[in-house]
């Protein structure tokens, strides 16, 4: 079965112009997402994974942040040339987002029903009949909120963290988007609740065949929910490919080191492999490959020239001089 590509990002560059200098938050990122496929974008804090996704929906903080170049093709149309008015109609309808903290994403002063019905009102559904209420109950059932008829009259503070996150998921899928972007959706949840939510997300994706972009710093979540993965470091994708290939045969030294540095369930107590140093300051990136000061395989060329993107035999891509 050939799946249609719904999102293709090509050479995206999003820079922030600050008093201290230019921060290259996203520096030439390319990837694509097919229908029914989930792509994980993983990396440490400050590597540009969130800004990549804000760029897709054109919500980069203004005026400091600007998309400098690149293309974001959503179902064949370039989102970057669209007018703001057009973008507003696409957000929520074609592309939806679930953000990290459900408490700050929901308005504390309105009932859940009020907030979940908003996407339907924007769509122009008639408010007079019970039409909207039925749809709200329906979508809350889809995200498995028990007794939605009663719970929808509650306010966000009456919901637990896991339930709030489901409400956000309900708002996100209300208009059957083709692409769902989840930005660290489970970081504020406990493991057992996280497990419930990730399974819900997978089920919803299978029902609607939408594309999913999952941003996370937890490689465990990537392994369990995603088909393909892109590992980011200092604004660039250092490696991408199928989850099996990237996790089992990492090509880039950074990916390799990350896998070694992770305490894993089921393994013996031993000293962890450690990556020396800290992620670089994006204002003062080292020359050449951004990772060389921390890389245990760094060569002379790494310090002066940026590595090219190399296509791997297994279909993935990595950018490292070692692979040339």
């Amino acid at each position: 079965m050939t799946q249609k590509i719904i999102l293709a990002v090509e050479g995206l560059k999003t820079y922030f112009f600050t008093r201290a200098g230019v921060v290259k938050a996203v520096d030439g990122v390319s990837f694509s997402v097919k229908e029914g496929e989930s792509l994980g974008i993983a990396g440490e804090s400050g590597c540009g994974k969130s800004i990549t996704c804000l760029s897709i929906v054109r919500l980069v903080p203004q005026p400091a942040g600007r998309i400098i170049s690149g293309k974001i093709l959503f179902e064949g149309q370039d989102l970057l040339v669209k007018k703001e008015k057009e973008m507003r109609q696409w957000r929520g309808k074609r592309i939806s987002m679930i953000l990290q903290d459900p408490l700050t994403s929901l308005n504390p002063c309105y009932t859940i029903e009020n907030q979940v019905s908003e996407p339907y009102k924007i769509e122009g559904l008639n408010n007079g009949s019970n039409n909207i209420r039925k749809k709200v109950i329906n979508v809350l059932k889809r995200v498995r909120i028990p007794s939605p008829e009663r719970r929808m009259r509650d306010y966000p503070f009456q919901f637990s963290g896991g339930m709030r996150q489901r409400v956000l998921a309900a708002i996100a899928i209300a208009r059957d988007p083709r692409l769902l972007i989840a930005d660290e959706p489970t970081t504020s949840l406990d493991v057992t609740i996280q497990d419930q939510f990730l399974r819900l997300l997978k089920d919803m994706q299978q029902q609607t065949n939408m594309g999913l972009v999952m941003i996370t710093h937890d490689l465990g979540i990537v392994a369990e929910t995603c088909d393909r993965v892109a590992i980011m470091y200092a604004g660039k994708i250092v490696e991408r490919g199928t989850v099996e290939n990237v996790f089992l045969n990492p090509a880039h030294p950074y990916t390799e080191a990350l896998m070694e540095a992770l305490p894993k369930m089921g393994s013996k107590r031993k000293r962890l492999f450690q990556i020396e140093g800290e992620p670089p300051n994006l204002l003062r990136l080292p020359g050449g490959c951004s990772f060389w000061p921390r890389c245990h395989k760094a060569m002379d060329i790494c310090q002066t020239q940026s590595p090219p993107v190399i296509s791997l035999k297994n279909g993935g891509e990595a950018s490292c001089w070692l692979l040339c």
Binding site: E44, D190, D195, A223, F247, P263, K264, G266, I275
Partner: protein
């Protein structure tokens, strides 16, 4: 080996206003409800559990930051709630802590030098000279892997990993016997996490420390601890040697908790269904076994009687009727 810390049926209830303005109505929030365990010298005891299970309250009780409702905490055989003022100062020298969020636990208006040397000034300021204090501070900052020129910096000038290193230096400068670590690495990135965990284990070996680690990250706990206790709603449901508990979890909650952790291994198929429901309300905990509403094996006895923590084999205890009942029958 003699235990450094012994906790005996520890209880902490908080009074919680539920209703009323003038005629207030109160309820008891049973944060910790009958917890017993002991930590041997040189061990690394881990407490695992979801948020709201009472693990942080235990650490606050050990640090004398809260008053005990009932039960006992014995440090080297002495009851810490009965310590005299002078002895409390001594106790605080022996027991130190590292908090989760180094950014908010370091005073933003103090330089690193003053933060790290403060415990020395308070405890030994009268016996040591300024020069000796400074020497020991520098030695400590080198031990945690920071360059000595960072001594003049303020916390905001340091990165997250460096702040955590300062917090470690501050905690171990008095050469304590026991260090309590509340989520020591959960705020850090993966690459920094490994550095800090390795540093902690080096310092433990070098200074002959005993650790009590409180965390929700099970993979990390498996890596660093020697013994572990799993908490659920103010009670320990399973405890024992880390390898026993992880290789063969017995309590249904422990099993479900371990199964819910995402492994960074592609293609692993989850056998167990995900745990239904959410952690109960500590204001109104379920009767009998507190886990029974979420447990797939729950029977009548689970709703009625509270299971006791029973040692099922050497170095492994469980509080579950399903596991313990056959043992009762046998004996």
């Amino acid at each position: 080996m003699a235990p450094v810390l012994e906790i005996k049926s520890l209880v902490k209830h908080f009074l919680f206003v539920t209703d009323g303005v003038i005629l207030r109505k109160y309820k008891m929030l049973k944060a910790v409800d009958g917890v017993s365990f002991s930590v041997d010298k040189g061990a690394c005891f881990g407490i695992a559990g979801e948020s709201g299970s009472g693990k942080t309250t235990i650490s606050r009780l050990i640090l004398l930051l809260e008053k005990i409702t009932s039960g006992k905490i014995l440090y080297e055989g002495k009851d810490i709630s009965k310590l005299a003022r002078k002895d409390i100062l001594w106790y605080r020298m022996r027991v130190q802590t590292i908090f989760q969020d180094a950014a908010s636990s370091l005073n933003p208006r103090m330089r690193v030098r003053d933060i790290v040397s403060e415990p020395l000034e308070v405890q030994l300021g009268k016996t040591l000279t300024k020069k000796e204090i400074m020497e020991r501070t520098e030695e400590m900052i080198r031990l945690v892997g920071l360059p000595t020129d960072k001594l003049a910096n303020y916390p905001h000038e340091l990165s997250g990993g460096q702040k955590q290193r300062v917090a470690i230096a501050k905690a171990v400068i008095l050469h304590p016997a026991l260090v309590i670590l509340d989520e020591p690495v959960s705020a850090l990135d993966v690459s920094i996490r490994a550095q800090i965990l390795n540093l902690l284990s080096d310092i433990q070996a070098q200074q002959d420390l005993t650790y009590l680690i409180i965390a929700h990250d099970l993979a990390m706990l498996q890596h660093v601890t020697t013994d572990i206790g799993v908490m659920y709603l103010g009670k320990i449901v399973e405890t024992g040697k880390t390898e026993n508990v992880f290789n063969e979890p017995l309590h249904p909650y422990t099993k479900a908790l371990f199964a819910a952790v995402p492994w960074p291994v592609p293609g692993r198929v989850k056998k167990a269904p995900s745990l239904k429901g959410e952690i109960g309300n500590p204001l109104d905990p379920p009767s009998g076994c507190r886990f029974h509403q979420r447990c797939e094996y729950a029977k009548r006895i689970c709703r009625e009687a509270e299971p006791l923590l029973v040692e099922t084999r050497p170095g492994h205890s469980v509080a579950c009727h399903k596991i313990n009942e056959p043992l009762w029958r046998a004996s």
